[in-house]
Structure formats: structure tokens, C-alpha cells
């Protein structure tokens, strides 16, 4: 065959000729398809599992960053409590005066008014 038109015609003929699959092949292909599929269920795409209590708690605190900040603050508080640095001593003493208040007179008695009069 040297005529290009003949070859093109032959290829066109092949293009128009259907290869009808045997029914058995269709059945085999469909059988595979159904075996990998459950009706009405997206079986091949698993639903995401619900988050655990811990992960919800972490998310509530602002995620990993929030949890890290909270942990750092807690550890710093514990450290300060244990070591009581001298630089803070003067400040903490103002919060706890050495002179204790022994009695507080919530209802003054009559003598007070008598003295003023």
C-alpha cells in the first residue's frame, strides 16, 4: 500500500468499527465495580473520626500555641513560688505587712460616741 488515501481510509474504517465487548467481560468489570462499592455509602471515602475530648480541650485553649503559653505561665508561677527571688522580696512584703491586725471593730460600741460628745 503506497496510497496515503488508502491508509487514511483504512484507519477511518477501523475508527468506525466498534469492538463490542462480550457480555461476560461486561459482567466481570461490573462485578469488580460493585465489589469495591457499597450501595448508598461512600465506602471508599471514610468519614473523619470525631475529635477526642483532649483534642477538643486543646482546641478550646487556642490550639497548640495557646496550650504552650498556658504551660509556660504555669511553670513560671511554680518556679517563682519555690525559689522566691530576692528581687521580689521587697515587693511581696508590702503585700504581707508584718504588723498583724488582731481585732477589727465592725460595730463600734457606745463609748466612742460618748467620748466625742
Amino acid at each position: 500500500m503506497t496510497n496515503e488515501n488508502d491508509l487514511d481510509g483504512l484507519l477511518q474504517h477501523a475508527r468506525q468499527t466498534a469492538h463490542t465487548p462480550a457480555p461476560a467481560l461486561i459482567e466481570r468489570v461490573l462485578s469488580d465495580a460493585y465489589a469495591l462499592q457499597s450501595p448508598g455509602q461512600p465506602v471508599l471515602r471514610q468519614a473523619a473520626p470525631s475529635p477526642s475530648l483532649l483534642s477538643r480541650l486543646v482546641r478550646g485553649l487556642g490550639g497548640a500555641l495557646g496550650l504552650a503559653g498556658l504551660t509556660t505561665a504555669a511553670l513560671a508561677g511554680v518556679g517563682i513560688g519555690f525559689y522566691d527571688p530576692p528581687a521580689l522580696a521587697a515587693w511581696t512584703q508590702t503585700l504581707t505587712p508584718s504588723s498583724a491586725i488582731d481585732t477589727v471593730e465592725l460595730i463600734p460600741d457606745l463609748d466612742v460616741f460618748m467620748d466625742e460628745s
Binding site: M1, T2, N3, E4, D6, L7, D8, L10, L11, H13, A14, R15, T17, A18, H19, T20, P21, A22, L25, I26, R28, V29, L30, D32, A33, Y34, L36, Q37, S38, P39, G40, Q41, P42, V43, L44, R45
Partner: protein, 200 residues
Amino acid sequence: MQMPLDAKDDLPDETLVARYAQGDRSAARILTLRLTPRILAYATRHLGGDRAEAEDVTQESMLRLWKAARDWPQGNVAVMPWLYRVAGNLCIDRLRARQRRRATALDDAPDLADPVPGVEARMMGDDRLAALDHALSQIPGRQRQAVVLRHIEGLTNPEIADVMDIGVEAVESLTARGKRALAAALAGQRGALGFDDDEA
């Protein structure tokens, strides 16, 4: 919501694959009826007319489609070129296995590819198609793949480039050389194929 089957017939392959992954059995049926004949035709020609092997390749290709459906990248990958690529690779594997068998065991000759035109095509009375299949089996595999995809399956050059994972220029070169090789393989058969009669 269930759609009538004939309405789904118009849906693109990619949509049907997504519906299949969601459990829609009718999508599986439509895809099977739509795609199986095309892959079977492609594999049959790629394998030099060996229908039994082509059916195995077709089933394996479709099986890979079902398995890939769950993670199908919607909007990015067209189904048909993807299937052609899978089927083409499977055919190449089988052709290589044939060559290994041919090289190592001449006693297995009856199991090898039938060098004469396919019996089925002869029974159909279409010697021209049988001769074409035989001639296709005589040309290099990459050229055969390009010629079949371009001139029989009707893909565009960019689509073929995607299937064969090569550039468009390489596709053009392969199809041109493939057609010349095909014409050479069919040379001398004009009379036998009845082309002389057509001109008379």
C-alpha cells in the same frame, strides 16, 4: 436524589466517577458500558489483535479506575486519557513478557501472538481490518500507540502527549513515522485488500 439512567448518560466521565465513589451503582454501570468498548478496542490493536489478552487488560484497567475513584482529583484529570495510559502500560508489560517467552522458549510458540490476521476479524469478513491489525503489530510499540490513539481513537496530539507522557512534538514525530511504517507494512497488499477493485 436519584436521577433517571438516561439523564446520567449525558454526565461527563469525571462526574460519574465521583458518583461511583459515593456509592451510585448506576454510575458504575454507565461507566462500564461507555468505557469498556474503547479500552478493549485500544488494547486489542495494541496487542496485535489478541482479543483474550485485550479483555484481561481491559478488566485490569477498569479495576484500577474503580480503585482510584475515591481519590480522583476532580477537575484536574480526565478519565479517558488516564485509562488509555493505564491500558497502554499494561499492554507494554504483556508485549515485553511475550518477547521474553519468545526468546527463552521456542516450544511455547503456539502461545505467542498469532502472526496471521485475527481469526475473529476474518470471521467477520473484514480482511482489511485484520490486515491493519497485523500491520500494526509489525511496527514499533511507541509508534503503534501513537498511531492508534491519533488515527483510530481520535485523540488530539496534546491528549496523546499526556497519555504517553511525552511532548507534543514527539507525538507528531511518532505518528508521522508510524504512518510511514504502517504503509510499508501494508505495501504489496493493495490487491489482496481490494483497493485496486475500489479504483476500478
